[in-house]
């Protein structure tokens, strides 16, 4: 660490020593850009409307594609007549299950299939509403839709199952020939029976979270274009390399012949981690027409076929000693990933397994098939569901113990991961700090000790009750997910290009990575040019998701920047006739830290001009297996409930997070407010509704009937309290993931606050006026 000063009274500007090749960089102590509230490097593009998202792409001669979805949850195609549609104005090409051009295999879980289950792109048996039946390319999207309406399909409508709670009952129609059981997973540690006998209090409760849909603002889809035998896709994607690999595999193309360009993308939340059938269909239509094809699903279609957070039924039994020590937990889960294997119960148990110290835990998770769209990973898969159960249970236990819920959690803070083999320690565990500092900043003690308004009338506002709630959480990853390669190029004028394959979902990836590079190179983040994710031009990495992007890519970026410096400084050393180890660089100038008179502009380096460009390469190695890198969180809120109507008003929210180092304070806070807002949706408004008793069709497949929180459903301010616990054990940047952890405890926080206000434990999401008004009325014993 060295410092330079700007002017006489200015703050010292940190300048970072360059490690020798092979040497692990040390954590930055003071930073110049990292952690500051700097605007995004691409903010201008996004606010001006000039950022080009895949759905904005227009190519010469471009046609528009559209897919006909099956209107039934379970049906076989008996007859399909496309004659009329083919002759309609503007129609160029039509494909269906009988088209040899479109005869490709498809699996709904491309990247990690727990069970391979391959069907056709246009399969004669549609096992969920919205699965693809036919597709068309036409001059305008209107004409494409006209043509779809002209296709006559005769279906054999088959019995269906919509509700996972009945999926395994005898007599229920089978989604597949083998029945509706995907798998049952078991986990056990310690002796649960013994644990319960050691407990002073044992509680047991059933919980359910409704099925949630991702509904990112930008629709799912792509623009496909062929140049000879090379396919280019502009796809709204979280992972261009994942799309490339799926599309190449399905179409039987060499990877090198498939280029996927991400550009900007309008949100994914896990639903755009991989290609969809739409990617394949667009490619086929483009190939057959010889024209570029834009194919984006309609909003209604995205509700049916591009993933969800599975509906989840949980039963949790927990035992605790008088002093608050957890003795045993027994947890059963029943959920569904839809009509194909898609991880319906995936990670639902992780909070129970690992959030609190508990020696005796038993879990049984049952995943089932139903006739509904397959799940896709949804921001912190499984975790908010498990948190809904565990954190409401912790609240109930605290009340039974007459103990502060913060205290109860503090009693059970773990130092190591109990659920993992060998029970490795956490690199850092900020759970204790999150609980303590969060409670302090929220004013938890004062707020809970404040005298509650009397249960009678309260000056005209007699029906409003305040309530306080809190919950904690951890995210089961948050460290490295290699491989990842990043390239930093420094040109002969000193300007810098950052080349990485990670998509910026809006989380601020580009900004954060520019900041890391800038910090190391001593230039402003805004001056760094970043390439958008593109398999043709940027470096391989895994999709952005699971809060792995920052802890994975930032380390590779820093390594690339250091690698560039390691090449640049010797050039300067030679020209300045000093030792390279004596050199620092800042704002385009390389200088000797021992002799200020010796300095040179990067742009003036003859040696650099000679090589033209310096290429710094950084890679990400796996985290050492000896320590687990997980982010932790505690959140607090206050609500106001109308105890007659069941309306819930969330007044304030505070989020204390241990996600390691803050790289950009604005985008960090953005993740926090966004995760909470999404959790408010899970807690209060969001719920997929299937017409289970009649048709099995989804009735609320639009943004009106499937309700996202609006600006009036969130508190006026959501306070973000980062707890930066810096440790080289995390990685040499010091950052853990943040995007997923924020949304894990939120719904339970709200449920606990509603309990505090009303005395009603709402065990099923969402806590809508429809549900709560009924429960409150029952509580009052009204007829």
């Amino acid at each position: 660490m060295a410092e330079a000063t700007r002017g006489n009274n200015a703050e010292p500007i940190p300048v970072h020593q360059t490690p020798r090749p092979g040497e692990t960089p040390r954590l930055w102590e003071k930073t110049r850009f990292v952690g500051k509230a700097l605007p995004r490097v691409d903010a201008y593009d996004r606010v001006s409307g000039t950022a080009v998202y895949p759905s904005d792409v227009r190519l010469p001669g471009m046609l528009y594609g559209a897919i006909l979805g099956c209107p039934h949850p379970n049906a076989r195609i008996k007859r399909l007549d496309t004659g009329k549609a083919k002759g309609m104005p503007g129609v160029h090409f039509l494909i269906d299950g009988t088209s040899p051009e479109a005869d490709f295999n498809w699996s709904f879980r491309q990247s990690r299939p727990p069970k391979e289950m391959s069907i056709k792109i246009f399969d004669p048996h549609c096992r969920f509403e919205g699965d693809a039946v036919a597709a068309v390319a036409a001059e305008t999207p209107y004409q494409a839709r006209d043509a779809l309406r002209a296709i006559a399909v005769e279906y054999e409508i088959l019995p269906f199952v919509s509700d996972e709670r009945t999926a395994l009952q005898p007599g229920t129609p089978g989604v597949h020939a083998g029945g509706n059981l995907v798998q049952t997973e078991k986990y056990e540690r310690g002796n649960v029976e013994k644990g319960f006998t050691e407990a002073d209090i044992v509680l047991e409760e059933s919980y359910r979270t409704a099925c949630e849909l991702h509904t990112p603002m930008e629709l799912h889809g792509c623009v496909a274009a062929w140049e000879g035998d090379r396919l280019t896709l502009w796809e709204s994607s979280q992972g261009v390399f994942a799309v490339q690999s799926t599309v190449a595999a399905v179409l039987g193309l060499p990877l090198a012949k498939v280029r996927v360009i991400g550009n900007y993308m309008g949100g994914g939340f896990g639903s755009k981690l991989d290609a969809g059938k739409y990617s394949i269909i667009a490619a086929v239509l483009a190939r057959q027409t010889g024209r570029p094809v834009k194919l984006f699903l309609s909003r209604e279609e995205t509700y049916l076929s591009v993933g969800n957070r599975p509906p989840c039924n949980m039963r949790l039994k927990a035992g605790v000693k008088k002093d608050g020590t957890l003795t045993a937990m027994s947890f059963t889960v029943l959920a569904t990933g839809g009509a194909y294997p898609a991880g319906g119960t995936s990670l639902v148990d992780w909070q129970v397994r690992d959030l609190y110290t508990c020696p005796n835990v038993r879990i049984e998770s049952t995943d089932t098939y139903v006739n509904a769209g397959p799940a896709r990973a949804f921001r912190a898969p499984g975790h908010p569901q498990g948190s809904w159960a565990l954190e409401q249970m912790m609240d109930a236990l605290a009340r039974a113990l007459k103990m502060d819920p913060v205290e109860l959690r503090l009693k059970n803070v773990p130092a190591f991961s109990q659920a993992r083999e060998g029970q490795p320690p956490y690199a850092t565990t900020g759970l204790k700090q999150c609980l303590e500092e969060g409670a302090k900043a929220f004013g938890w003690k004062e707020a809970t000790q404040k005298t509650k308004p009397p249960s009678g009338k309260d000056a005209g506002k007699g029906d409003l009750r305040r309530g306080l709630g809190m919950a904690a959480g951890l995210w089961f990853v948050g460290g490295a997910n290699p491989p990842s390669t990043v390239i930093i190029r420094m040109f002969s004028d000193g300007s810098v290009n950052l080349n990485m394959g990670a998509s910026d979902l809006g989380t601020g990836t580009k900004t954060v990575m520019a900041t890391v590079a800038a910090e190391e190179l001593g230039v402003s983040p805004q001056s760094i040019q970043i390439e958008n994710a593109d398999t043709g031009t940027t470096q391989y990495t895994k999709p952005s998701g699971g809060s792995k992007t920052v802890p994975t890519e930032s380390v590779a970026v820093r390594a690339a920047a250091i690698h560039a410096k390691q090449q640049l400084l010797p050039i300067a050393a030679e020209e300045l006739k000093v030792d390279a180890g004596d050199l620092l660089m800042r704002d385009g100038i390389i200088y000797s830290k021992t002799d200020n008179s010796r300095s040179v502009k990067i742009a003036s380096l003859a040696g650099l001009k000679k090589v033209g460009v310096i290429v710094g390469i950084g890679t990400r190695d796996p985290d050492p297996p000896s320590k687990v890198v997980n982010p932790f969180a505690a959140q607090f809120c206050e609500v106001e409930v109308n105890i007659r109507t069941g309306e819930v008003n969330i007044l304030r929210f505070l989020c204390a997070h241990d996600s390691g180092r803050v790289l950009n304070r604005l985008t960090y806070d953005g993740q926090v407010i966004g995760g909470v807002t999404m959790g408010i949706g899970l807690a209060t408004t969001e719920c997929r509704i299937l017409d289970a008793k009649q048709t099995g069709k989804m009735v609320n497949r639009n943004w009106h009937d499937y309700k996202l929180p609006t600006s009036l459903d969130v508190p006026a301010e959501i306070v973000s309290l980062p707890l930066e616990i810096l440790s080289p054990d995390v990685n040499h940047v010091g950052a853990k993931g943040l995007g997923e952890p924020v949304t894990i405890p939120t719904a339970a926080v709200i449920a606990n606050a509603v309990y505090d206000a009303t005395g009603i434990r709402v065990v099923e999401s969402p806590i809508s006026p429809m549900q709560l008004c009924g429960l409150l009325s029952k509580e009052r014993k009204e007829g």
Binding site: V47, G49, P216, G266, F269, L666, S711, A716
Partner: protein, 212 residues
């Protein structure tokens, strides 16, 4: 397909232009079964514009201060024409059903959903999209405020949010927090940037008050 003449000069005035008439007829003429061509000489006031569904008709739209002369079908929404015909892709498509606000534009200074607005209904109206808030390459006040407050994440709802705030500020230059929360309550943000958007709207009011 689309042709835009951005010269802003048009001696034909507002309303359907002559080339655009497939038929244009008064009531009497309709009863008499006269052809539209014969009626072109009749007085403007007496005529109803009649456009057949299968035909594209020439329509002038005033967008961001420039006149665009386009061939459009009656069923085409303003959103489709902006994005796919002209290429103003700053206005985003989220639902095409008036349920998200990503397509918010100003029509005669009032925020509306372009997806629930027929382009042909916009003749004679002044349309402003997010591109129209720019002063050359300089950001408009609301855009600048969104940048400063990081009032977005993926950015896809952002042009709509920006236009909703612009519409609010044109009506109410010094909005309260509640005004702002209601003002953007017709714009979904799935990334959940609302609380930053509230701050940005306040900041935008300040920037505008400073005369920028």
């Amino acid at each position: 397909m689309a042709d835009s003449s951005g010269d802003g000069r048009d001696e034909r005035g507002s309303g359907l232009t002559r080339r655009g008439f497939l038929s244009s007829m008064g009531l009497g003429a309709l009863a008499a079964g006269a052809s539209g061509k014969d009626l072109l000489a009749a007085g403007e006031e007496a005529r109803s514009a009649v456009i057949k569904g299968e035909d594209a008709t020439r329509v002038d739209l005033l967008i961001n201060g420039r006149r665009h002369s386009l061939l459009i079908e009656p069923r085409w929404t303003l959103l489709y024409v902006l994005r796919e015909q002209i290429g103003f892709t700053g206005t985003k498509v989220g639902c095409e059903r008036g349920e998200c606000g990503a397509c918010t534009v100003l029509i005669n200074n009032v925020s509306r959903y372009a997806c629930l607005t027929l382009a042909i209904e916009c003749e004679g109206a002044e349309i402003v999209t997010v591109e129209g808030l720019m002063k050359g390459e300089e950001l408009g006040a609301v855009q600048q405020a969104f940048l400063e407050k990081d009032a977005f994440q993926c950015g896809y709802c952002t042009p709509g949010q920006v236009m909703a705030v612009e519409g609010l500020l044109r009506k109410k230059s010094d909005p309260s927090l509640e005004d702002i929360r209601h003002g953007v309550s017709g714009n979904l943000c799935r990334c959940g940037a609302y609380t930053h958007i509230f701050k940005a709207a306040r900041r935008a009011a300040e920037i505008k008050a400073q005369g920028r």
